[in-house]
Amino acid sequence: MDSKILLAGIGGQGVLFAHQVLADCAVAAGLNVTGAETHGMSQRGGSVVSHLKIGAGSAPLIRQGTADFLLAFDAAEAYRNLSFVRRGGTVIVNYASGDFPNEKVVGPLANLHVAARVLDADGIARRLGRVSAANVALLGFACTCDGFPLTREALRDALARIVRPQFLELNAQAFDAGVNAGMENS
């Protein structure tokens, strides 16, 4: 099944790394991937968006209103990119205070049947002693969402291939914490 995943965050949050993990995982499962990244000027503290398409097709960009999943590593970047999510799609947000979505978007999300799932990935990463692991926690959380194209086992294998050995244990913990949080509130 073809899937379109938009990843959004801020420079330094590991958006491109998360993209790499998902892409590598899909290819290992025998699927084709195409996607787009932002480099250069936009990396200087700016918004970072990356597009990932799994399956057929080779156009790198996702059109607005057609993404199956929006993986947002920051709440503001989630709002900024909500218009990419299709009717019936899912938005997954790294947010601490638990009051995403903002009251202004509750109605539209319901009308478009968009599911919103929130995880305090930064909190998980902080507890593990490495703030940069939030992206991997969010990946763990994402794969527990209905219709997510990659399984938890396959993603864990992809992490093992990509992450440098000295950081693997920590990343695996962050990933599992994300998975567990997803299982609990699903």
Binding site: V27, A36, G40, R44, G45, G57, R63, G65, K104
Partner: protein
């Protein structure tokens, strides 16, 4: 076969390695910068005998690679599209002289533009230069086209341009790693002055020869598999279609996807060989359609080459937007309109649910414009420049430091090296009126070496007077920390001879040269004042100050050795002076308390903002005594962490 997920530029590098490239040169520039590093990575991994260099600029890079091709080696030069302007002189000449070993010029376009001065189209440059150009749609195709480009170059003895757009260079896709051609091609330059040193009389001969080559290449492209046609299932040789699409590059992939979305089938001609355009094939295609939509970017290279454009919809008749990227969001309404016009599609689907614009209108979102990093030495330099020169014009240049606009310390940015020449021109313009305008030019170390040196010699020679600050952060920061001539590090890690910037400045005839660290703001400002005085003295001229502070992303060790933690005191009255004048992302306004705070997540403890609060509300947290500092630096505690 091994599958690997790679960036488009890495796919191109893989193609180069597979094709047996021997010499690879480049000048960094987004979106092309990852090509050479990927070549180097595979060269090391596979133990290949390849010469690589980050050249001084694109002209130098092209000439070095071209000469290697004249000696029979397969050679490549890579750059961004505006770099091709710099390299245009040898490119146009090389089209006439021809090549021996395959010679491929990679020039990456930037529709958008995302990180360039212009949206210029390399393919139009190829037509101007009379050089064949291939236009890949995806990383996979770019990898394959590298092979095609070398074969074409060697068969017809011409340079060939490969033009990936940013959405190919920075697309990520799984590719198949093919076999590597490691067969040696030995250097063997054959003297032929009528070609390699041709005078105008021989140039005419070479021009005619080039025209013949282009005619043969066009004939080959008529049946080349780099171009392909998809027809609806129910077609006969005489079927006439209400609409056809001719597309190249990334817009081709977008067209395929949009046709799927609209569930419409129309004949589609994909063009991979944009110049010389297979004109017969194109006109045959057009003849079978009532209307033909042309999709290409960033400009109209295919469309210009079509003689009869009566049934053609594209950029020239206004169907396609004439600026900006042809993203799926930009093309969706075009498709809806055109398909409705030819009655292939009726339902009016809005491109985007307007629901979001309405809902998000009142959700406050932080603007995230690009800014200089916390701890960036350029910020300290610009801050001091603003303090010392309140009424100067600030000519600047291409690099991270163009973001000095945020500190209102950059008034102009034209092209590589123009900080110096723009200051020169402004000086002479005011001089005509009997005035000496206060002028400060700022240029980065890499940009100065790229094309600032000639401008500086010219300024000195013509008696211009201004202060030139060379912002030396010891690397080419914006594009990924490539080394400059001022270091001893070569592209592949080998040792090179240092060509020192101070020596270059002195060699240009500059009589005032000071080196100063902008982190020591008082000293730096005294040096700037001295420089200003020199430009106004009887024997004055251009005064050069080299602001030396390593890029904080590239080498943070000087800060880590002497961290200065700062706090904003409770007395802060929220006047925002520091936010405007110093403009550091780590200084943020707390709207609730109306006080400035330090964002500890991104603050690097450089302490540079202390001076930016003239009311002294930004202070060092627990200042350490000199003895404590000595103890701290002496211990190995930091390393143990």
């Amino acid at each position: 076969m091994t599958q690997q997920v790679v960036l488009g530029n890495e796919a191109i590098a893989r193609g180069l390695i597979e094709a047996g490239v021997s010499v690879a040169t480049a000048y960094p520039g987004t979106p092309s910068s990852e090509i050479l590093p990927a070549v180097i990575e595979w060269k090391k991994k596979l133990g290949l005998n390849i010469y690589v260099e980050w050249s001084v600029n694109e002209k130098v890079a092209l000439e070095v690679a071209l000469a290697a091709s004249w000696a029979g080696k397969r050679a490549v030069v890579a750059m961004k599209q505006v770099g091709l302007n710099v390299a245009s002189d040898p490119l146009l000449s090389a089209a006439y002289t021809g090549v021996v070993g395959g010679f491929v010029v990679i020039s990456c376009d930037d529709p958008g533009p995302y990180s360039s001065q212009t949206e210029q189209d390399t393919r139009l440059f190829a037509i101007f230069a009379k050089v064949p150009v291939l236009d890949p749609s995806t990383p996979r195709e770019a990898q394959a086209m590298v092979h095609a480009a070398f074969a074409l170059s060697e068969k017809y003895r011409v340079p060939v341009i490969l033009r990936p757009a940013m959405r190919v260079s920075h697309a990520r896709q799984n590719i198949t790693l093919d076999e590597v051609d490691a067969s040696p091609r030995f250097a063997k330059f054959k003297k032929d002055p009528a070609r390699w040193a041709a005078t105008p009389r021989y140039r005419l001969v070479l021009h005619k020869e080039l025209n013949e080559k282009l005619a043969q290449i066009e004939a080959e492209f008529e049946t080349s598999s780099l171009n392909s046609e998809t027809l609806p299932h129910s077609h006969t040789p005489t079927t006439r279609y209400p609409l056809g699409i001719i597309a190249s590059g990334v817009p081709y992939t977008t067209a395929c996807e949009l046709l799927d979305e609209f569930d419409v089938t129309v004949p589609l001609l994909k063009i991979g060989t944009v110049y010389p355009l297979p004109r017969q094939r194109v006109s045959d295609f057009i003849a079978r359609c009532e209307r033909v939509l042309i999709l290409e970017e960033p400009d109209a290279a295919i469309e210009y080459q079509i003689a009869d454009r009566r049934n053609v919809l594209g950029r020239l008749d206004g169907t396609i937007p004439n600026a900006g990227e042809l993203s799926p969001d930009a093309l969706y309404p075009v498709f809806a309109r055109v398909l409705a016009d030819v009655k292939l599609y009726v339902a009016a689907t809005p491109a985007l649910d307007p629901i979001w614009n309405e809902a998000l209108k009142s959700v406050p979102l932080p603007a995230r414009p690009p800014r200089l990093c916390p701890g960036c030495g350029h910020r300290s330099a610009f801050y001091s420049i603003r303090r010392v020169f309140p009424s100067a014009f600030f000519a600047s240049d291409i690099g991270c430091y163009t973001l000095g606009t945020n500190l209102r310390a950059v008034d102009t940015c034209l092209d590589m090296g123009a900080a110096i020449t723009v200051a020169t021109g402004l000086y002479h313009a005011y001089k005509l009126d009997g005035k000496q305008q206060s002028l400060v030019a700022t240029i980065g170390d890499a940009t100065f070496i790229h094309s600032g040196i000639t401008g500086l010699a010219n300024a000195v020679h013509t008696g211009a007077r201004f202060v030139l600050v060379i912002l030396d952060n010891t690397t080419t920061a914006m594009t990924g920390f490539q080394p400059t001539l001022d270091q001893t590090r070569l592209a592949d890690g080998g040792a090179g001879a240092r060509v020192a910037i101070p020596d270059l400045v002195r060699a240009c005839g500059v009589k005032f040269l000071r080196e100063s660290d902008p982190y020591y703001q008082d000293d730096f400002q005294s040096v700037l004042k001295e420089a200003e005085a020199f430009t106004q003295s009887d024997e004055g001229g251009v005064a050069v100050v080299i602001a030396q502070r390593p890029c904080v992303l590239y080498d943070r060790s000087p800060i880590d050795e002497h961290p200065i933690k700062v706090t904003v005191t409770d007395e802060c009255d929220g006047c925002k002076y520091c936010l405007v004048a110093f403009e550091c992302p780590a200084l943020v306004m707390n709207a609730a308390t109306n006080k400035v705070e330090v964002d500890r997540k991104i603050c690097v403890d450089c302490g540079q903002c202390i001076d930016a609060c003239y009311k002294n509300f930004i202070v060092e947290t627990n200042p350490v005594t000199i003895f404590e500092l000595a103890e701290k630096v002496g211990s190995d505690q930091r390393i143990a962490e």
